[in-house]
């Protein structure tokens, strides 16, 4: 146990990190322990089971020398006429942060969502969680809304969203510069005066 719990950051070689998709009941306590330790919201065992049993292919665990040091838990489904993915929990143990582990975990989950036909991915994050916000920002998530006192602890949240490219979007169409709205109010005022 000793040799894996006290890395000062440089010791962990990224190639030693192993990523696996959720593979059964033996993974559940590992996930629960990580999330319980690091996230503010309390989740019952039903919540965990809800996710990992219905969407085991969207949950991933990261191991270092046999120790579980990070996890992502997600789901997907119909929501108001769109098929969307939802990232419920993401945690990496402190000594293992800033190595791209969370990015890798989330990326794997999002890829499965995309391949399964999701149109978008959403999640909520505390407005104060700079690390998570930066991470998701780099992945292309936008902050779609602010949710006032969303969490039990009274903190606001952002609803983050990632929209996948839509194959049916019209291709770039030429819009000549002369057509764009470039005039100032002063000019449009004149235009108005010249009119009938």
């Amino acid at each position: 146990m000793e040799e894996t719990t006290t890395p000062d950051g440089s010791i962990v070689d990224e190639s030693e990190i192993e990523y696996v998709s959720y593979a059964g009941e033996h993974h559940l306590p590992l996930i629960m322990r990580l999330v319980d330790e690091e996230l503010s919201e309390p989740y019952s065992i039903f919540t965990y089971r809800y996710f990992v049993y219905l969407w085991p292919n969207l949950s991933f665990l990261a191991f270092h020398k046999g120790k579980c040091i990070g996890t992502v838990v997600s789901k997907m489904g119909e929501h108001r006429n769109t098929f969307r993915g939802y990232i419920a929990m993401l945690v990496v143990l402190k000594p293992y942060r800033h190595k791209g582990i969370a990015t890798e975990l989330v990326t794997r989950s999002i890829k499965v969502m995309m391949e399964s036909g999701c149109e978008e991915v959403t999640l909520e994050a505390e407005v104060t969680n700079k690390g998570a916000l930066a991470l998701y920002g780099r992945l292309g998530f936008i902050r779609a809304k602010r949710l006032f006192r969303y969490y039990l602890n009274g903190v606001d949240a952002f609803r983050l969203k990632l929209l996948f490219p839509h194959p049916e979007l019209p291709p770039s169409h030429p819009y000549s510069h002369s057509n764009t709205v470039m005039s100032s109010v002063l000019e449009s005022y004149e235009a108005h005066e010249l009119g009938p």
Partner: protein
């Protein structure tokens, strides 16, 4: 996956299968039409034996919400029913947690009473700031058993005024209720909030105030040491402390009295109580100052031996630093079920006083608003008011003042207000037109808009986004109605002419409102921190496009307005000439022009940075900038605000911007110049002057940054540009640094 957790056993089914083995469990609860009560213990037992680890028996409707609502019993993070100290209020009382009197020693009793008052104030502020009533004010055991206190006049009257105040605040917030996010505030289920006799709270308070001020007077008179005034019994027994205690109690009582008056006055119809409310607000603030001044006295006497310790002053919820008697926040946590109890930290006393000072200042501003029936004035007032970041209670009162009985200030029908705003000729108000369905709808939209503007910024932005569509639709409907009217009523020519004018003006006004809402929607995104720096470019571009439209509509309205005004004053012949000559552009439009230049300048500067320096680009592994654009502006695009604008318009507009062309037509310089010139036009408008000053600062700094980057940028790759909002809440200032 579904089979894994659904082991095929459901309680409901089993009940149906074995209707015969019925030990009646609870006959008082009817079992429903096609069902009967059954004991499922044995069935569950055998089901348990069949269950593998991780399997779950559930109904079809077991979804995320059901999973999240499930509790783990005895986990303090989730189980709000967990017993903390006492099982019940009665048990707490029996255990002596809330004695009456608070102490048999009169001095200690008064001291404790003051602690109760102070802690209550801390609880009240905590409640206003978004925690549940049950876990804050009603953590007070005395309040939970209102009849117990009647033998203690001071405690009793204090509890009564607290209850009445809570009721007044709750009714204001729930009457102005626009959304569920703040519902927690008004949840009162199971709390003894109303008690017969509470309506007499002010007279009770007056009686006790009278008594104590006589006691104060008596102890101050030189003869009191000789105890010559037999008919006045002192507040407590230590005569050296009598004056201090009388004063400490009095200012606390008086604060409650005036605060209650404020709440009552604010609710008078048509703003008739506002002047009086302001007087009580001033008194409240005076009493709060007095309360603050009693801290020293109370602390000194606390240290002098009644309680040894006390928490450090910074965290204390009382002036004296003592823990108050008679509170237990865990007693009520069950009331929050099934949601888990929220973590709660009661405000410290100092912060509570500060909260009330801020609330009172905000309410004072609400009261100071002139009751004039101008729609634009009302909108501008709300927007300015929101800049102070008022809390829920103040915002609710503003909304109740603005919209009463569907009228502005409860007086002016919204239709009249719209006619005025849209510069519709006076005559129109009598016309049947306002019975037209579209106009009725329009009036509702205008009211909704006012209400939305009074809500918290997060909710406000979402609602503004939603109503944009409605404003677009009403515009279409009005256009159709206009055409119909035109076709049908070609008989009476004078009326028809007037009708056309009304429609045209109102159509223009509707569009102006729409663009104004869109603008506000976009800039609130800055306040809420919804935009990443790499998205600023598209956001400023969109703001720029919207502002141009807004400027057009606003200008058109102003021209029409001055035409109408002139026509009234002068003969027709002259007015035609005047319009043609009209040289001056109204200052309000010029101010908008400054903002347009800023938005345009920022768009082009950032896109030049993107094109030439490769920074501020939206790149991600899964999507492109186009998807971000679609998501941010989805609601605007859906409502065609404005028409003919898409991601491609933005891309083409910014694709070729470069510093050397940008420097030739420096938008920032223009903005700065106009802003300077405009100062004279707004000498009496403090808010506009502030805005102008901020615009000038942003323009100046960005102008300098632009020059710097365009001169050195390509030579010095270590130059880094970032954006800050230190001069203006939504127009960014470029900061250039060498990294």
């Amino acid at each position: 996956m579904e089979e894994n957790i659904n082991n095929g056993v459901e309680e409901q089914e089993s009940a149906n299968h074995e209707p015969t083995s019925v030990p009646v469990l609870n006959p008082s609860i009817p079992s429903g039409e096609q069902t009967v009560w059954a004991d499922v213990a044995s069935l569950l037992d055998s089901a348990c034996n069949d269950l593998q680890d991780g399997e779950l028996i559930h109904g079809d409707n077991f979804n995320l919400f059901a999973a999240m609502s499930a509790l783990e019993i005895m986990d303090p993070k989730m189980d709000s029913g967990i017993v903390c100290r006492y099982y019940s209020v009665d048990e707490a009382i029996e255990d002596g947690a809330a004695p009456i009197p608070l102490s048999l020693n009169k001095t200690v009793d008064v001291h404790c009473m003051i602690d109760v008052m102070d802690h209550m104030l801390s609880c009240e502020a905590t409640w206003h700031k978004g925690h549940s009533l049950a876990q804050t004010i009603f953590s007070c055991i005395y309040l939970l058993r209102p009849d117990r206190t009647s033998s203690h006049a001071l405690l009793h009257s204090y509890c009564t005024v607290i209850r009445s105040t809570c009721n007044a605040v709750i009714s204001a917030v729930s009457d102005s209720r626009t959304h569920e996010e703040e519902d927690l505030f008004t949840i009162t289920s199971g709390l003894p909030l109303k008690r017969d006799g509470d309506e007499k709270c002010l007279s009770m308070l007056n009686v006790i105030e009278e008594t104590i001020s006589r006691q104060l007077h008596a102890c101050k008179s030189p003869s009191h040491k000789k105890r010559s005034i037999e008919d006045i019994e002192p507040l407590q027994t230590n005569l050296d402390l009598e004056e201090g205690y009388c004063k400490a109690v009095l200012c606390r009582l008086r604060f409650r009295k005036h605060f209650y008056h404020v709440l009552v006055c604010l609710r008078r119809p048509q703003g008739r109580g506002l002047e009086l409310a302001r007087k009580h607000i001033a008194s409240c603030l005076v009493e709060l100052d007095s309360i603050l001044k009693t801290e020293e006295f109370l602390r000194a006497n606390n240290r002098n031996g009644m309680w040894e310790d006390g928490m450090e002053s910074e965290d204390s919820t009382t002036a004296s630093g003592c823990q108050p008697i008679g509170f237990d926040s865990t007693l009520n946590s069950r009331l929050s079920a099934p949601t888990p109890p929220r973590a709660i930290k009661v405000f410290c006393w100092k912060k509570a006083v500060e909260y009330f000072q801020k609330l009172l200042h905000d309410l004072d501003i609400v009261c100071s608003h002139p009751i004039d029936p101008l729609h634009e004035g009302a909108l501008r007032f709300v927007v300015e008011f929101q800049k102070l970041q008022p809390d829920l209670v103040a915002r609710s009162h503003l909304q109740l003042l603005l919209v009463q009985d569907g009228k502005l200030f409860g007086r002016d029908p919204i239709f009249t207000m719209i006619c005025k705003a849209a510069a519709v000729p006076e005559l129109a108000k009598n016309l049947d037109i306002q019975k037209n369905e579209s106009f009725v709808h329009l009036c509702q939209l205008a009211i909704t808009l006012l209400k939305i503007l009074c809500t918290n910024a997060a909710w406000q932005r979402r609602q503004l986004g939603k109503v944009l569509q409605d404003w677009r639709i009403i515009h279409m409907q009005l256009e159709i109605a206009l055409r119909k009217e035109f076709e049908e009523s070609s008989s009476t020519s004078l009326d028809e002419n007037l009708c056309m004018k009304i429609y045209k003006n109102i159509l223009n006004w509707v569009e102006e409102q729409t663009y104004w809402i869109a603008f506000r929607f976009l800039i609130l995104g800055f306040e809420l921190e919804l935009y990443a720096p790499s998205e600023y470019c598209m956001v400023y571009w969109y703001i720029y496009v919207i502002l141009i439209k807004l400027g057009e509509k606003m200008h058109l309205r102003m021209i029409t307005n001055s035409e109408t005004a002139k026509r009234k004053g002068k003969k027709k012949r002259e007015s035609m000439k005047d319009v043609a000559r009209e040289p001056a552009i109204p200052p309000a439009v010029l101010l908008l022009q400054c903002q347009i230049y800023l938005a345009e300048g920022l768009t082009l500067m950032i896109s030049a940075l993107r094109n030439e320096h490769g920074v501020f680009q939206c790149r991600g592994p899964f999507n492109s900038e186009q998807e971000r654009f679609i998501q941010h502006f989805e609601l605007l695009q859906k409502a065609c605000i404005p028409d003919h604008v898409s991601y491609y318009t933005f891309r083409d507009y910014t694709a070729h911007s470069q510093f050397d062309t940008l420097i030739m037509c420096n938008y920032f310089k223009e903005a700065q110049r106009i802003a300077k010139e405009l100062r004279g036009s707004f000498v009496n408008d403090k808010n506009k002057l502030t805005e102008l000053r901020h615009i000038e600062q942003v323009a100046e700094h960005n102008g300098i940054a632009l020059n710097l980057v365009s001169r050195l940028g390509s030579l010095d790759p270590s130059l880094k540009v970032s954006f800050e909002f230190n001069h203006h809440p939504h127009f960014a200032t470029a900061v250039v640094k060498r990294s």
